[in-house]
């Protein structure tokens, strides 16, 4: 497989909570479960640390998709963080959808430290979805386009 420059190569930011999803991504790594290199992970202590501004910022700077991964509801290391994240992200995603931004560009997935397979599968699916949506043109700052 060689890199074709013509091909659409999405920029995807994945916010992963330190305790479950980041570990899940580590497990995907140590289990050699491949997913596209387009996904870049940012470690946050908890999904509740993800500010909607981070997500919009990513889109502003040219991201084509943003995914937030946290512990399964009930399993949050901080007991309640992902519950808050869940409400925040639901409302934010709904607003983006309301404004005509394709709703497949954002996603929340709960991935435990044991779910390396799920992490890899989720990322593969998400990248595929972004490929089908194509480049993000509705929510970016033109100045950041190359």
């Amino acid at each position: 497989m060689s890199i074709n420059n013509e091909e659409f190569r999405p920029k995807i930011v994945a916010f992963c909570c330190n305790w479950c999803s980041y570990a899940g991504a580590d497990l995907a790594g140590s289990s050699r479960l491949a997913y596209p290199a387009d996904v870049k992970i940012i470690r946050v202590p908890c999904s509740c640390r993800v500010n909607p501004m981070f997500i919009l910022r990513a889109f502003e700077k040219g991201a084509d998709g943003v995914i937030i991964c946290g512990c399964h509801p009930g399993d949050c290391h901080y007991s309640t963080g992902n519950y808050y994240a869940r409400r925040r992200m639901t409302l934010l995603f709904s607003m983006l959808d309301y404004m005509g931004v394709e709703n497949g560009r954002t996603r929340v997935e709960w991935v435990s430290a044991a779910e390396g397979v799920k992490f890899s599968q989720t990322m593969n699916e998400f990248v595929e979805k972004i490929h089908s949506l194509g480049e993000n043109v509705r929510l970016g700052d033109l100045r950041c386009k190359n």
Binding site: R57, T90, L91, M95, Y98, N103, T106, V108
Partner: protein, 323 residues
């Protein structure tokens, strides 16, 4: 109005309050301004009519820091904002003497002008005592008139009701003005295709001049330093070069007041470009009502706000794609 002035003078005279927060007559028939009155003489300029749309609760943040109590005139919808400010410790209930004033719907001069009425030198029918259904204008281009309801602010057509949520005493009667569904406009947009939705908001937001009037008038946007003015977040903005920043600003503005916004409609009232900003806030309100149970910010001072609350079986964010 006279009853209000008399009561204000009385409260000033007997020392109950140190000042009165109300509206002062403007230099045109339709531009009264929010004002503090400290003497009986100043109160001669006090006015309360259909053009007194301004929600005075936000001025109480500053007034709470002053010596003595402030008599503040709040319309039914303003009291929701005041309650919300109490809840967030931004105003001191003890420093306020709340006179709940009656309301028969507030007027928008923009709407009057959109009806082709210009050069206005005098208005009748906007007084609170007047039950007139019609507004009459004297203009330099002749006399004009329009139905009161046709000149009403959008928010009054979806009025939350005549009840004051918090007050010390009530003066004046209120009128039912609701004649539209609160979420009808939101539903209309929700029914659009993504491309239509995008085009609609792109067009509306392209008018934004980043004057921050919507933010600065908002009683919920009471931050000492807004995140958009702050270097601490690396998000300071002043004006756009590209259309993205308006979207960022308006999404975040609405998000930050989600669950706190009382839907007072001030943002839409003050926008110099007539952007229907309430459509953002009301979308969040509608989602909150549907997903987490009906919630009216400012209806009380102790309930848990939807975004600082949760249940174990809340909807997953993927519900957005499923609806």
């Amino acid at each position: 109005m006279q009853e209000l002035i008399n009561r204000a003078k009385e409260l000033l005279a007997n020392g109950t309050v140190a000042r009165v927060l109300g509206w002062k007559a403007g230099d045109l028939p339709y531009n009264p301004e929010p004002a503090f009155f400290t003497t009986a003489e100043e109160l001669d300029n006090f006015v309360y009519n259909g053009f007194c749309g301004a929600n005075l609760s936000k001025y109480m943040i500053a007034a709470s820091k002053l010596e003595g109590k402030t008599m503040v005139c709040l319309k039914p919808c303003d009291t929701y904002s005041f309650n919300q400010l109490i809840k967030e410790h931004r105003v001191d209930r003890e420093k306020a003497y709340i006179v709940g004033v009656g309301c028969k719907g507030k007027l928008s001069i923009e709407k009057v002008k959109d009806l082709g009425i210009k050069g206005i030198t005098a208005v009748s029918g906007a007084e609170m005592s007047d039950d007139a259904e019609t507004l009459t204008f004297q203009t330099i281009y002749g006399d004009k008139s329009c139905a009161y309801a046709d000149a009403m602010l959008e928010r009054c057509h979806v009025c939350k009701g005549k009840e004051h949520m918090v007050y010390d005493e009530l003066i004046g009667e209120s009128k039912d003005t609701k004649d539209a569904e609160r979420f009808a406009e939101v539903e209309k947009i929700e029914a659009m295709s993504p491309a239509e939705k995008f085009a609609f908001f792109q067009k509306e937001l392209s008018k934004c001049i980043r004057c921050n009037a919507c933010r600065n008038v908002c009683p919920a946007c009471s931050c000492r330093k807004c995140v958009f003015d702050s270097t601490k977040f690396d998000s300071a903005q002043k004006a756009n070069v590209d259309s993205f920043e308006e979207k960022m600003f308006h999404i975040i503005r609405a998000f930050h007041v989600a669950g706190r916004c009382t839907d007072c409609g001030e943002c839409s009232r003050v926008c110099p470009q007539g952007i229907p900003l309430h459509l953002f806030n009301r979308k969040f309100i509608k989602d909150i009502d549907e997903l987490y149970g009906e919630y009216q910010a400012g209806a009380d001072t102790d309930s848990k706000a939807p975004l600082t609350n949760f249940t174990f079986d809340d909807a997953e964010p993927s519900i957005v794609t499923k609806r």
